[in-house]
């Protein structure tokens, strides 16, 4: 499996009395794409949002177990530093109502970078990596909200890249996009894999099969508590799943 980037050990997540995720242990490899699949409501998003502690924003959330980034407990890290190292791309493109340039420069500025020429370098570099540079290089001062949905999502990826994260969490990044924009995002994910550890939640099994190296299957029963059912190389999960429920899911028997 190579180097381990993220690791969960007996991790459970509660919202008040409701148990959203139960006893999850998983190791996510560095510089690979790991896909999280499963029916809706099985806690995929809550799982993903654990790694940059976005669940901390929910007032009655409570956790058990431990989560590590490069062997370091994420609850012992500075949350600002954690979130710089673990970037996130959301389901719905959410560029700020600012110019394209200011969107990408937002993160570096938040981390204290003021030098204009360095910012320009980072903006260009990030937009190039997100495969958006050629489309927007003449309109950097235009509002980000004028871009198409697919462009907005790539802008959000560029915005995440600009703070030099090591991990990128993607929460169904293509679910709000049309098929062509989706393919572009998928191609981009394959490229980013060279330098970043990517964890992607998707409800689209073909997408998981196309982009990921590893796949984790989440499932839930009537209690709505999410559980990790099976985890392994994508090829193995899709060709010879060990668990009956995984097989049922990927062959489309439910979900």
């Amino acid at each position: 499996m190579g180097q381990i980037k993220l690791e969960m050990v007996h991790y459970s997540l509660y919202y008040g009395n409701f148990c959203a995720l139960r006893d999850i242990s998983i190791q996510i490899p560095a510089r690979q794409v790991t896909a999280i699949i499963g029916p809706s409501g099985c806690g995929k998003s809550s799982f993903l949002r654990t790694f940059n502690r976005m669940n901390d924003l929910i007032s009655n959330a409570r956790v058990e177990g431990r989560v590590f980034l490069d062997g370091q407990d994420i609850w012992e890290m500075d949350v600002v530093e954690l979130r710089r190292r673990v970037g996130m791309v959301f389901q719905k493109p959410n560029p700020f109502p600012k110019s394209i340039f200011d969107n990408v420069a937002y993160g570096p500025r938040a981390h204290g970078l003021r030098d204009r020429s360095r910012l320009e370098e980072i903006v260009e570099q990030s937009l190039r990596r997100a495969a958006l540079w050629d489309e927007v290089k003449d309109d950097l001062n235009k509002s980000a909200l004028t871009l198409s949905g697919g462009q907005q999502q790539r802008l959000c990826i560029a915005r995440a890249l600009a703070v030099e994260p090591e991990v990128i969490l993607m929460d169904e990044p293509a679910s709000a996009l049309d098929p062509i924009a989706t393919l572009r995002i998928e191609a981009l994910i394959r490229e980013l894999r060279e330098n970043y550890t990517i964890v992607i939640v998707t409800h689209n099994m073909q997408q998981a099969a196309r982009v990921s190296d590893y796949t984790a299957f989440f499932f839930t029963d009537e209690s709505r508590t999410g559980m990790l059912i099976e985890y392994g190389e994508t090829k193995q999960i899709f060709t010879s799943p060990r668990d009956r429920r995984t097989e049922d899911y990927i062959t489309g028997r439910f979900g």
């Binding site: 600002v80 204290g112 360095r118 370098e121 980072i122 570099q125 030099e164 330098n195």
Partner: protein, 301 residues
């Protein structure tokens, strides 16, 4: 990472930087907390000053004798309480039926599917008027009341002039709050009633108005507060006599107006403060009622 641009570029965001951002945040939040404290302190400063200096003067005699005029501001505030009550009844008695009726027409009739073009146009004109007047300072309503009722119609400085001017002041808000209350009634209520064979008016009377009741009531109570607080309009239409009004054409002074005269034209500061205490208590009670009503409204969803 093997990208030359990214290698070792690093951010200033070392641990020190994080600590600096944390510090900045703590500083900023302290200022925000201070703003909350300022709001409370401003309120306390006003209320405590007035209450401390005015509470001592309040007794049954203060409440139940009328002012006797004069530079020392002798007497109590009885006639001003009565005048205030009269004015509340008068203004709301005029403005509420007019405002609620107009709102019913605008919401239930004029915007109907079979509504004629003319009435749709009328609603637009009315809405423009209401929006415009809602932001107009009360002294302008005072001017209007003065020229129309006091002067042109020869009602003089009287309860009648003041009541009519006051009604004009609260009319725009009455229409708007009633409209909003009516609009919150779900369409399905109306459809259910109509489907049972009720006529339009029966539907409005039996279903829509009861459902909009708490919203309309809130608007009415808020208007009561507004009439009690209002001074400018009555300053130029009510005259300022401290005697108990004997008819609609008598002049008078409300509590708020009395406070103004005491503060500006007599040496009876403590009595002005006492009147202020009575006013503040009245407003607190009104706020509590509004709170109760909106809680009821929210509970209903």
């Amino acid at each position: 990472m093997n990208d030359p641009l990214f290698v070792g570029q690093g951010f200033p965001s070392t641990r020190g930087q994080y600590r600096w951002e944390r510090l900045k945040q703590r500083l900023a939040f302290t200022l925000l907390w201070a703003s909350g404290a300022i709001a409370i302190l401003a309120l306390l400063a006003v209320v405590i000053t007035v209450v401390l200096r005015g509470i001592g003067i309040i007794d049954l005699e203060f409440l139940f004798t009328s002012p006797r005029g004069g530079i020392s501001g002798e007497g109590g505030i009885f006639s001003t309480i009565v005048t205030t009550l009269y004015l509340v009844i008068l203004t709301l008695g005029i403005a509420t039926p007019l405002g609620v009726g107009a709102a019913i027409y605008f919401v239930e009739y004029a915007s109907d599917s079979h509504g004629k073009k003319v009435s749709a146009y009328m609603v637009q004109v009315a809405r423009f008027g209401v929006e415009t007047l809602a932001g107009v300072p009360s002294i302008i309503f005072g001017l209007f009341g003065y020229i129309l009722f006091v002067s042109t119609l020869h009602f003089g400085f009287s309860l009648l002039s003041a009541g009519l001017a006051g009604a004009c002041l609260i009319l725009p808000v009455s229409i708007r709050t009633a409209e909003e209350a009516l609009k919150t009634v779900p369409r399905s209520y109306r459809e259910a009633s109509l489907a049972l064979g009720a006529t339009k008016w029966q539907t409005i009377w039996k279903v829509v108005l009861p459902a909009a009741g708490p919203g309309i009531a809130t608007g009415i109570i808020l208007n009561v507060g507004r009439v009690i607080s209002e001074t400018a309009v009555f300053y130029v239409t009510l005259g300022g006599s401290y005697k108990l009004p004997s008819s609609l054409l008598s002049g008078g002074r409300t509590m708020a107006l009395h406070l103004y005269y005491l503060a500006m034209e007599t040496k009876a500061f403590d009595k002005a403060m006492g009147t202020g205490v009575v006013l503040i208590i009245t407003i607190v009670v009104i706020n509590l009622i509004v709170r109760y009503l909106s809680a009821k409204l929210a509970a209903r969803g």
